[in-house]
Point group: C2
Chain length 432, copies 2
Amino acid sequence: MMHKINVGLIGFGNVGSGAVKILSDRKSLLSSKIGLDINIKKICDKDVLSKRNVSVDKGLFTRDAKDIINDPQIDIIVELIGGIHPAKEFIMEALKKGKSVVTANKALLAQEGRELFALARDRGKSIYFEASVGAGIPIIKALREGLVANKFSGIFGIVNGTSNFILSNMSENDLSFSVALNEAKAKGFAEKDPTLDIEGIDSAHKLILLIYLCFGKFVALEDIFIEGISHVSLADVKYAADLGFEIKLLAIAKKEFDELEVRVHPTLIPKSHLLSSVSGVFNAIYVSSDLAGNLLFYGPGAGQLSAASAVVSDLVDLTQGLKAGMFRPTLHIVEDRSIKKLRRIGEIKSRHYIRLVTADKPGVLAKISGVLAKFGISIASVNQKEKQKAKVVPIVMVTHEAREKDLRSALEMIGRFDVIKEKPVAIRIEDV
Amino acid sequence: MMHKINVGLIGFGNVGSGAVKILSDRKSLLSSKIGLDINIKKICDKDVLSKRNVSVDKGLFTRDAKDIINDPQIDIIVELIGGIHPAKEFIMEALKKGKSVVTANKALLAQEGRELFALARDRGKSIYFEASVGAGIPIIKALREGLVANKFSGIFGIVNGTSNFILSNMSENDLSFSVALNEAKAKGFAEKDPTLDIEGIDSAHKLILLIYLCFGKFVALEDIFIEGISHVSLADVKYAADLGFEIKLLAIAKKEFDELEVRVHPTLIPKSHLLSSVSGVFNAIYVSSDLAGNLLFYGPGAGQLSAASAVVSDLVDLTQGLKAGMFRPTLHIVEDRSIKKLRRIGEIKSRHYIRLVTADKPGVLAKISGVLAKFGISIASVNQKEKQKAKVVPIVMVTHEAREKDLRSALEMIGRFDVIKEKPVAIRIEDV
C-alpha cells in the first residue's frame, strides 16, 4: 500500500471544495507523480450541510477545528476560512502541534505574517501560501525557489482582478467607473461591498507578501501609500489612451539605494509595456531581478479551480519533503539589510499625467505653467482639448519626472485659481 | 560547521563560470536560505587556462571529467559542455555513480531525454534542467511543480531569442531579414552560423522538453513540423501589421481530442495577444491548463547570469532534497495516455495569411478566389495593394480556418497561373 499523508481542511467553501475535488478527480495522477497519496482525513466547516460540487464521505466532517488540530495523524492543515480570527489561532495551534500549514489567507499573512512565519521557523515547520497572490500563477514558488539566487529591485503587480476588470472595461467599452463596477458585480467579479478591491487594500495585502518574498521584510499596511480606482474617470482613461497609455491599478515596490518605495495606485503604463495589455480579471506580476532580468508572470487572478490548483501544488510540495523522512522546511526568506527605510510618498519621483478643467479665457495656460515652473516641474507635453459645454476647456499635460511633494504643492496652488473649474486630476506614470 | 554539498562542474564556459560566480558572490545569501553550503569541489574543462570573470582556486581544475564522475564525495554534477557526446556519457556515468545532474543541454535532452530520464528514475536520482528553456524564467519548475495538478491543452512558446530579435527588429525598424540578421550577429544575439536558431531547430528542441513536462511524452525531432524564419519578408511583416498582427516564430503543441499537434513556424499573432508584444531577445511561454487557466511566463531567453540563475536554482532544489537525508527525486512526469497520435501537418486547421504577387490584369482575383473556393477555403478579407514597379500587384488575403492540405493544393494550383509572378506566400495565423 502506498504511503499516505493526512490532511485536515479547515474551511469547505469555494476554494476548499475545489481543492477536495482536484484531490479526488486527480488522485491517481497525483499519486503517480509524487509517489504517495494525499488523503483528506477531516474537513471542518460551520456549514457541513450545503451541497458542494464534490461528494465527500459525511464521516469526514466536523464543526470543531480542534478535531483537526489535535489529530496526531494529520500532517498538514489547510486553512481556507479567511479573515484574521480565528484563522490565526488555528494556524498557530497547528504549528505548535507539529503540523505544516497551507493557506490562501493574504489578509492574515499580510497583517500577522511576521509572527506566523517566525513561529513556523521556530518549530521547523512551513507555511505555504501559493494561492494568496495571483491564484494559480506559481508566483510564490518562482520568487522563493526559481529565483532563489537573485536580488530584486522592483515589483510591479496587477494583483486585483476586480479593479483590472473595471479599468479595462472602462477603456475597451467607454464606460464610466460606476457602470463598469456594476457590470463587474453582475458578472460576479466584484463583491457587493467592493471596497477592499477597488480601494487598493487587497492589492496592498498581496504587495506585502511579494515584498516579504523579494526583500525579506514585512511592511505594515499603514506604511503603504494606497490610492484606489474609484476616482478614475472615463475622461482620464480616454485621454491617457490618446497619449499612448493604459491606466492600471499597480502595486509597486521599488528599491533605490537604501530606500524602498511601497505604493498602490492607479498608474499610467505605456502601451508598449506588457503590463498594459493585461486585461479583464487577469493578474500579472512583473519583477526586476539582477540575474534573471525582468520577468513577467501572468494568469487568471481568481477562480475556484485556479486557486485550488495552487493549494494542491503547496500540498504536493509539502508531501515531497515528508516523503524524504521529515518535512523539508520552506527555503528561509532572508532579509535584505541594505534597505534602511521606506521612502515617503512625498519624496518619490515620477512623471505625471495632469488634467485640469479651466475656463475658456486667455492667459490660463500661462498661469498654470508659471506655477509648475515655480515648483521646478517641467512639462513634457500639453494638449488643450476642444471646448466643452459651458465654456470649460480641459487641459491635459504630461510632466517630466518631478518630486511628488512639489507636484502636490503646485496643483494645490493651481486648484485655487478662479479659472480652474474642477479639482485638478493627477495620475502617476510608471516607466516600468 | 555548516553541512555542505559537493558539486562537480563539467564545462567552465559562459554559463558555467556564471554559476560559479553566483555561488561565490551569493554564498552567504544562499547558505542562509538553504541551511547548507554549496561547494564547487572540482571543475572540468578542456581549457583551464583562459581567464573567466570569476577567480577560482587553480587546485579545483581538471581536464578529465572522470575525476569528477568518480569522486565519491561529489553529490551533484553540473553538465554545461553542450552537444550530444560526450555529455550524454558523462551524465549516464554520473547517474550510475549515484549522483544527480543539473544540465542546460536542451539538444541532448531533446534527443536522448527518454533514455536519460529513465535511467535517472531507475537509479532514484534526478536530472534538473531549468536553464534549458527560457534561461532564468522558472518555466520548468512552474510546469512540473507549480501546475502539478493540471492537465494541459496547449503550449505556445517564443523560445528562441535570436529569431525573436530578428523578427521584432524587422517589424520595429523596417529592416529586411538579412539586415536584421546581420544586426543580430553584430550585437552578439546570433551565432556566426545561425542555422539552429533561425531555422527553428533550437525552438523545436525546447518544444520537445515543454511537451515532455506537460504531456509526459518525448516527441522525436523528425516528428515536429519545423519551418524557420529565413523566408519571412519585410513586406509580410508590414502587411501583417496593417492587418493587426505581429509575426513571431512560435513553438506550438496543441491537444485536440486524442491528437497532438507539434510544430514550429512563423505565425501571425493578433496584436491584442500578449505574445505579440514580446520583442527583442525576450522569451515567453504561454500555456493553457485546465485548472489554473491560461498562463504566460516571460523573461530574457538568454544571457550568462540569467541561465546561471536557473542552474543555481536547480542546485538549491537538489540540496533541499539531500538535506532531508536523501535526494528527493524529481516529481515523476506522468504520460498523458489520452493522446493516441500526432496530427500530421496536412491535417491541421488554421487561418492563413496569403500574399500573392500578380500581374495587373482584369480577372485575376476571380481566378484566384475560384481556386480557393474549389478547395473549400473561404476568404475573410482581401486587400489589393497599390500597383508596384513593372505592373505587379500584391494581393493580401486572410482566410477563414482551412485544412493545411487543402490550402497547399490550392496555392500550388494558383502558383502555376501565368498571372502569378512570385511563389505564393502563406503564413499560419494562430488564434491563441
